[in-house]
Every structure is written in C-alpha cells, then in structure tokens.
Symmetry: C2
DNA sequence: ACTGAATTGTACCCTTGGCTACATTAGTCT
DNA sequence: AGACTAATGTAGCCAAGGGTACAATTCAGT
C-alpha cells in the first residue's frame, strides 16, 4: 500500500494528465496571472509609502517601468477593487484590504528571494525570477520553501 | 573584502532597489508573461502529438480549459510566430522551431515539477504551481534546481 | 503674484486573450 | 447517398494592459 493519495492521475494509455485535471491547472494559472500585476502594484505602493511616506503616481510608473497613463489605469482598477484610494492630484493610499494584501505579498516575495539565494541563485537572477514566480506559488509550495530554509538554519 | 559582486544595489536611504534596476526586473517579468501562454500551447501540442499522433484544435481547447475559438486564435498567433502550421480542417503541426521550443519547455516543466516534489510539495500542488512558475525561472535558477536534485541523488 | 516645469488627468489607439453565436465542413452510420 | 453529429472556422463582443498626444493642475523659484 505505497500508493500516494495525492498522486496526479494520468491516462494510462497516453501518459498525460487527464483532461479535466489539466484544464483546471491551466485555469488556476490564468487566475494567478490576472492578479499578478495588482499584487505587484500593491506591494510597490506599500514600499514607497514606507520609504518616502507617500506613493505618487509618477514614482509608481517609473518603478514599474511603464508610462504614467498605464500606471494610472492600473491604479483605477485597484480603486475599483477596493485596494486603494486617491483624490485628484493627491497621492495614492492603501485601504485596509490593500495593506493586508501588501503585507502578505511582501512576505511571500521575501521568502521567494531568500529561498532562491539559499539555493545558490545569483542575487540579481533571484530578484528577477522571484518577481515573476512569486505569484504562482501555492501555500503548500511556500511552506516547503520555509521548511527548507528552516532546515538550512538548523543544520548551520 | 566580502562584498558580493552580484549583490542587488539598493538605495541606502530607502532600502529599496534602485529605480532603473527594479523597472528592468518588472519588464522582464512582463516579457515572460507574454510568452507563457505560447509556451504552454507548444508544449501541449507536442504532448498530444506524442500521445495520439496528432493535435486537433478541439483537444487543445479541452486540455487548456478554454473554448475552441479562443484556442484557434492562439493557434493563429503561433502560426504567425512560425511555431506551428495548419491547413483548414486538418490538424496542427509544429515547425522545426516549434519542436525545439517544445523540447526546451518540456524539459523545464519536468525539472520544475521534480524539484518541487523533491522539496516535499504534494503532487497536485507541484504540478499546478510548476505550470505557472516555469515561465519565470531563468537559466541560473534552473541550474540551481538541477544542482539540488543532483545533490539529493548523490547523498542517497 | 507670476511663470515655467513637473505632475496628473484624459482621450484615443493597439494587441492579447477571454467569450458567445452562428456558419461551414468533415466524418460516420444507416 | 443522405442525414446527423462533431469539428472547424468566422464574426463580433469585452476587459486588461500596453502605448502617444495633449490638457489641466500644482508646485517652486523668482
Ligand atoms: Mn511580482
Ligand atoms: Mn514582488
Ligand atoms: Mn506553463
Ligand atoms: Mn508546462
């Protein structure tokens, strides 16, 4: 009785994942992709607030490497989602929900970077890769990363 | 002289990455995001060819969890990019370039899954997370994953 | 208080990647 | 051969996220 309960089901004849299983996985990846940008904005806004006491649209745009109308449009979406507030010609502020999201996203970002560094990935690659990968790591994967770091530290 | 040459430069006063550095990282993540879908399609087409000897539009759509017009539109884009060919009412075929891409993407996918499994991530989470994360892992990160697996195997 | 520069806002355009609805073709079974 | 079904193609809609060009406002420095 060595069978792993959570083993992925594959079609015996094709050695591919079953169709509905695979469709669900791609669907989850699509969902994650659609929130990735928002997560990055919220994290960045929190960082700017912490560093400069305010988050200006221009700074956000510069940091994101995007033109200011593009940034403004994304910020409008964040407002609609209740993550951010702003009054004309004033800065951008995180709502309660925005701050909570920022905190989670920031912790995840740090864990991801730390993990890659611990594995021996050069710093710049670790930062760049983490910026993309972080949005697709489930709680289970983050937990595994944490265990790995814990083990490293324990074993000096 | 312990300074790491590849250490990320941060603004000393704000403890944030410098603006152009961070903008470049977000830019790279955007680029990766825009090729992620194409990579998944090409990988899937190769898998279907291997399993069934052909790749039909309907099967691709079902596997991707998407309606067939959506799949067809993506396939049209793959044609434009020279990764795929097709004649009306016949199947989809990978070009030389498409097959090469498929091979690289498939190897990367397997490495990613194997790595997560080795870390103790449950199989279904490993598969799902890999589907998203794979597109953002640089060569440096993939190499680190490979080293980790090698060490595991060596140390029994 | 004025003026010029920087910031912010707005209008409009494009591509990607979703969808539904409908038309056409191919394939299968009697 | 004809008819039904499945597959494929096409048209048109939408939202997100990128861009340019230009208008309006704020802010600093004189
Ligand atoms: Mn990110
Ligand atoms: Mn991040
Ligand atoms: Mn994928
Ligand atoms: Mn894949």
């Amino acid at each position: 009785m060595t069978g792993n309960l959570s083993e992925t089901r594959v079609d015996a004849t094709t050695d591919m994942p079953e169709e509905p299983t695979q469709a669900l996985r791609f669907g989850r990846a699509r969902t994650a992709r659609s929130s990735a940008l928002q997560e990055d904005y919220v994290e960045l806004i929190a960082d700017l607030m912490a560093a400069h006491g305010e988050a200006r649209a221009t700074d956000i745009a510069k940091r994101m490497g995007v033109t200011h109308p593009t940034a403004l449009k994304s910020i409008t979406r964040l407002k609609r989602e209740g993550l951010v507030t702003s009054r004309p010609y004033r800065g951008i502020f995180l709502t309660e929900a925005g701050q909570e999201l920022a905190q989670r996203v920031r912790a995840r970002h740090r864990l991801m970077v730390e993990f890659l560094l611990a594995l021996g990935v050069p710093a710049e690659a670790a930062e760049a890769d983490a910026e993309g990968m972080e949005h697709y790591a489930s709680e289970a994967t983050l937990a595994a990363f944490g265990r790995f770091l814990g083990r490293l530290r324990r074993d000096i």
